[in-house]
């Protein structure tokens, strides 16, 4: 009997030892690969305040992957698994190469392989995308190792049920890596190729969704993902019922205050996470079992690990918030999420503690662009405040909230009316975030100035202008007040005939500066325009001056690109301006008036042009004169037409040529008002010269305009041509033929003693513009200028000069 008992005991011991040994050997073995590592070039750093780029305390994917991996290893070990992990620190040396990881996995004897990652949109900045993805080797739905799909399918529900985050998509996306990365062929992810066990790569969330990056810095948030992986493993190996503890986690946020430190957020993530909240886990008797202090890294995450199943109370407190508590149920080997939206302590009525504009009777009027700013003692309920906001007279405008709803800013969409008394009433129905109304209405009065828009002083090109087509052409806008130079150029748009943007040279933008007499911006076109094509400049209404006053309406200016050199007729060149020899600035008796001439390489023809530089002492109508000391070979008469090429300086000054007749009389012929930039071809009939005399060009005169513009500048002149009335006989003096009226605007009518058989209108070049077998010509469509009319009477032809004016 004794022997039998001993034998039985021995057999029992052997059986128990054998079974336990077998069980010990046959627990699932999980290989854990925390992706990346080393805070180096193949790591992923997301720069979020307060962490600088490269700060290893900030978000690095290698950090969060490692914390998730540590958590998973810890949890699986508690659950009785065997585990291997590819790294336990975060150095470049530990960031093992792909082939190494695969070999280690294959030779570890593991049953499954988890590669733990988080995702990035690749946008280079903050994304609004956040959802989990997982990959196995192969095509989607056709994994090379079929159980890999089962492994991923078992994990997915425990990742997507994460209620601490905010997903942009409700689904866990499952892909075969060959499908997801077709450009890689069947190479796929490096840790999956050659891996001979069910292997998956999980991208748990998007770390360039900034609220998620803040969460992933929190170790406990990563621990929860490790817990989720362990549940996925339990589900895969059929062990969900083999672990007895649970956990509680969640996110604590302000119930209404929106976060302003980052810009792109989804759903509940728009609200401020509460830093440093204290969270207590209490049992049914009120005993505190665990306490958690939320971190300061703007995520609001809390966690209680390894909690026995049962009913608990979770209590959240914070000095600036009303405490909250709620009952939660913990289930074995499951997750319990409980988020909290805390209400701030706001225990006094709201009131306006600071405001702008501050104005009283007798004060200077308020600028018509002045925003109304109200600063409150509490963060306000925006809806009730905006309903309580009344401005008389009514003004269309926009309300913006700042400082987490402590500050309201009303900005008129256009501008207040000029010379108007306004009254703002914020009715006491305005409430703060806690729901308490103001004790009394708040009233603010102000009177506006007599100016509410900026005005265009000048523009080049003006509507209908011509612009020399070469690259570097200027576009300049001037206003009656100094413009706000910040990003000023962005309000100006230049389009070609098809509506395409014409590029400006951002390195050659000139803005007004403090002390200038008027506001301006001068842009330079980067590339040449197409001659004879239409373009336009659009100036946005938002162009504003230094006090925020803007245009009343957007402005549009159509212009044509031209080749200023191609417009020259076959007239004779009489001066090429290749040298300053023969030109000299005339002395002036006006103090402060200076002028000089020089040759300049910026030319339209030849190699040089003549530059006239000047400075006027004030805005009076003074004149700077350049003497032509040499005698040109050509003389001029009233029948001539001249062509001059001028590079304008948009000074609005007046350019004249001075001619001296044989009688020594000096005649000033207006040539151009310098309203333009760049080269321009100007032609002018010399009808201002008295008839019958021959003239020499003896001077060039520049007369200051009467505005604040054009005190100083420089213009250039190139090829002066003269056009004699070639092909047109001398006006027939001894004839009875008369042409009327002169000047004409509609019809030119000829009368004669005899029968008129025909009439022609001829330009200065001798070209016949209109011919009529009658005695009249319709000149209503003929450009203004001086023409010749040739009248046929029998065998006689008579020529008369006539001006067309409209």
């Amino acid at each position: 009997m004794k022997k039998n008992i001993l034998s039985f005991a021995f057999m029992l011991l052997a059986a128990v030892f054998g079974v336990s040994r077998a069980m010990a050997q046959e627990v699932p073995h999980v290989y854990i690969n925390p992706g990346h590592g080393g805070h180096d070039s193949d790591d992923r750093n997301v720069v979020i305040p307060p962490f600088a780029q490269g700060d290893t305390l900030g978000f690095w994917e290698s950090n969060s992957n490692l914390w998730k991996g540590f958590a998973l290893k810890e949890i699986l070990t508690k659950k009785g698994y065997q585990t291997s992990i590819s790294r336990i620190s975060n150095t470049t040396a530990d960031d093992l190469a792909l082939s190494t990881i695969v070999y280690l996995s294959n030779h570890s004897g593991a049953d499954v392989f988890y590669s733990i990652h988080s995702n990035a949109s690749g946008s280079g900045g903050a994304t609004l995308v956040n959802f989990p993805m997982g990959f196995y080797r192969g095509y989607t739905g056709q994994p090379v190792i079929p159980r890999a799909a089962d492994l991923l399918g078992a994990l997915a529900p425990y990742i997507i049920d994460n209620s601490s985050t905010v997903w942009s998509s409700p689904n866990y996306a499952i892909y075969g890596d060959w499908t997801f990365r077709p450009e890689w062929g069947t190479q796929g992810y490096g840790v999956l190729r050659g891996n001979n066990i069910p292997a998956i790569l999980d991208e748990g969330s998007f770390h360039d969704y900034y609220p998620e990056a803040y969460r992933l810095i929190n170790h406990e948030y990563c621990w929860v993902e490790g817990w989720s992986f362990s549940l996925g493993a339990d589900a895969y190996f059929g062990r969900l019922d083999q672990y007895g503890l649970g956990m509680i986690t969640g996110t604590i946020r302000d119930d209404r205050v929106e976060r302003v430190d980052i810009l792109r957020m989804l759903g509940a993530d728009k609200r401020l996470p509460v830093n440093e909240a204290e969270v207590k886990l209490k049992d049914a008797d009120g005993n505190v079992l665990q306490t958690y202090k939320c971190d300061t890294i703007r995520n609001g995450i809390y966690l209680f690990k390894y909690v026995e199943p049962g009913t608990y109370t979770v209590e959240v407190s914070h000095p600036k918030y009303f405490s909250q508590s709620t009952q939660v149920q913990v289930t074995a080997n499951a997750k319990t999420y409980q988020n909290f939206d805390l209400k701030r302590v706001r225990d006094t009525p709201p009131m306006v503690v600071e405001y702008s504009p501050r104005w009283s009777e007798g004060d200077d009027p308020v600028l018509c662009s002045t925003p109304i700013v109200l600063q409150f003692n509490w963060d306000m309920d925006t809806e009730s405040v905006e309903e309580a906001f009344e401005l008389e007279p009514a003004v269309e405008g926009t309300i913006k909230w700042e400082d987490t709803n402590y500050r309201l800013i009303f900005t008129p969409d256009d501008a207040y009316d000029v010379d108007t008394d306004y009254k703002l009433t914020l009715k006491k129905t305005a409430k703060h975030g806690g729901g308490i109304e103001m004790e009394e209405d708040f009233v603010l009065n102000f009177r506006t100035t007599s100016r509410n828009h900026i005005n265009k002083l000048a523009m080049f090109p003006e509507e209908g202008d011509q612009v020399h087509y070469k690259a570097g052409a200027y576009v300049e806008f001037r206003s009656d007040s100094l413009l706000n130079a910040k990003d000023l150029y962005t309000f100006f748009h230049i389009y070609d005939k098809d509506g395409n943007d014409v590029e400006i040279n951002k390195r050659n933008i000139k803005n007004n500066k403090k002390g200038d007499a008027y506001g301006y911006i001068r842009l330079s076109l980067l590339k040449a325009l197409n001659p004879d094509e239409q373009y336009k400049v659009v100036v946005d209404k938002g162009v504003s001056d230094t006090v925020g006053i803007h245009l009343a309406e957007p402005l549009t200016f159509n212009f044509t690109a031209v080749d200023a050199s191609a417009q020259t007729t076959e007239a004779n060149v009489v001066e090429e301006f290749e040298s300053a020899d023969g030109f000299s600035a005339a002395p002036s008796e006006v103090d402060g008036l200076t002028a000089s001439v020089s040759a300049n390489t910026d030319k339209l023809f030849g190699s040089k042009s003549l530059q006239l530089s000047y400075t006027f002492p004030d805005d009076e109508e003074n004149e700077a004169v350049v003497n032509v000391d040499k005698t040109l070979e050509t003389t001029f008469s009233s029948l001539d037409k001249i062509h001059l090429h001028i590079m304008g300086d948009m000074s609005f000054n007046h350019l004249n040529l001075l001619f001296t007749g044989e009688s020594r009389a000096v005649v000033s012929v207006p040539v151009a008002d310098l309203t333009f930039h760049g080269w321009r071809h100007v032609s002018m009939p010399l009808t201002a010269l008295p008839e019958g005399d021959k003239y020499q060009l003896t001077g060039i005169s520049l007369v200051k305009n009467e505005t604040v513009m054009g005190r100083t500048g420089a213009i250039r002149l190139d090829n002066l041509l003269v056009e004699k009335p070639v092909g047109v006989e001398e006006v027939t003096a001894n004839s009875t033929v008369k042409v009327m009226p002169n000047p004409a605007s509609d019809y030119v009518v000829a009368t004669a003693d005899g029968y008129i058989t025909g009439i022609e209108l001829i330009n200065a070049s001798g070209q016949v513009l209109v011919r009529n077998a009658s005695n009249y010509i319709n000149v209503s469509d003929i450009p203004a200028g001086v023409y010749f009319v040739r009248v046929y009477t029998g065998e006689m032809v008579t020529t008369r000069k006539v001006a067309v004016a409209h």
Binding site: E26, R44, S86, Y189, N196
Partner: protein, 296 residues
């Protein structure tokens, strides 16, 4: 063009030294015959080649003299870790996943002459590895082991961060290099006097049979012996997800010389070498054979 390429490659020595390496032959293998092929393994004569066939890594045997390709196993992943024994037969590990998703691994021997497969190590849960000794082959599992001979001679294996060196049938364990993740790719020099292995996070090392480190070769993966004095290995980089470059390197076993046999942009990897031949594959599974001359 090919000559130009060979000349360029011949000039890519990275350390100063008197050695001059010339690639005298470089040919594609099994072009138009086989699909993608990975994990090539040459036998000691350089006449036969094992490789993992296709994206599921079945095991095939290629006779480089006759051109015959013999399927060894269609079992998925059988070709990933196969080897030739000292007897010229093929040893590999197969695996089955049971209903509880645990993996059971079986040791197989493929008799090359009979073209027959025998189970030499019954299925067991956990890691099954093999070590090729100078006199026999050993396969080791967590519960059962196999040895083709009572004394497999001199052999080398790794287990975690332990280098297991067997001399005259007696095994010794060494940890000559610190490595948390473990040791990989152990091999014995052709003359049986030196051990080559890779320590994860530390690189490739050569030791004597007492585990004493003779040379550190650098962070080159999958090292294997070219001859008693030289080693070929893979030099790969990645971005954490996929390979960004990979090339085959020639390394002197004393650590004094290294030479690029292929360009880093060639994406060449997984070298094997024997009898003066070097066989490697590419990231998309193209097999190449290379022969070199070294002028010491």
């Amino acid at each position: 063009m090919k000559q130009l390429l060979l000349s360029i490659l011949g000039c890519c020595s990275l350390l100063a030294g008197a050695q001059q390496v010339t690639v005298v032959k470089q040919e594609r293998l099994l072009q138009g015959v086989e699909g993608p092929a990975y994990y090539p393994v040459l036998d000691r004569t350089g006449a036969r080649l094992l490789f993992a066939s296709g994206v599921e890594y079945g095991l095939k045997l290629y006779d480089m003299n006759t051109g015959a390709v013999t399927p060894v196993s269609n079992e998925r992943c059988a070709g990933i870790d196969a080897t030739f024994g000292n007897d010229g037969n093929v040893y590999y590990v197969g695996q089955k996943i049971n209903e509880n998703n645990l993996i059971y691994r079986t040791g197989y021997k493929f008799d090359v002459n009979k073209a027959s497969i025998d189970i030499v190590l019954e299925a067991q849960h956990g890691a099954v590895t093999h070590a090729v000794g100078t006199r026999g082959v050993a396969m080791r599992g967590p519960r059962k082991n196999y040895a083709s001979a009572r004394n497999i001679g001199t052999a080398v294996d790794v287990q975690g961060s332990n280098l297991l060196i067997t001399v005259n049938g007696k095994q010794h364990s060494y940890s000559p290099v610190e490595s948390y993740a473990g040791y990989l790719w152990p091999s014995l020099s052709p003359d049986g006097t030196k051990v080559l292995f890779f320590a994860a996070g530390a690189g490739a090392f050569v030791t004597d049979l007492n585990g004493k480190v003779l040379a550190s070769l650098g962070n080159y993966e999958m090292p294997c012996w070219y001859n008693n004095d030289y080693v070929v290995a893979q030099n790969a980089t990645d971005d954490g997800h996929q390979f960004t470059s990979s090339q085959i390197m020639l390394l002197k076993a004393d650590g004094t010389f290294r030479h690029e046999l292929t360009k880093s942009t060639s994406m060449s990897m997984q070298p094997t070498s024997a009898a003066g031949k070097i066989v490697y594959t590419t990231v998309d599974g193209l097999l190449y054979v290379m022969e070199i001359s070294i002028n010491d």
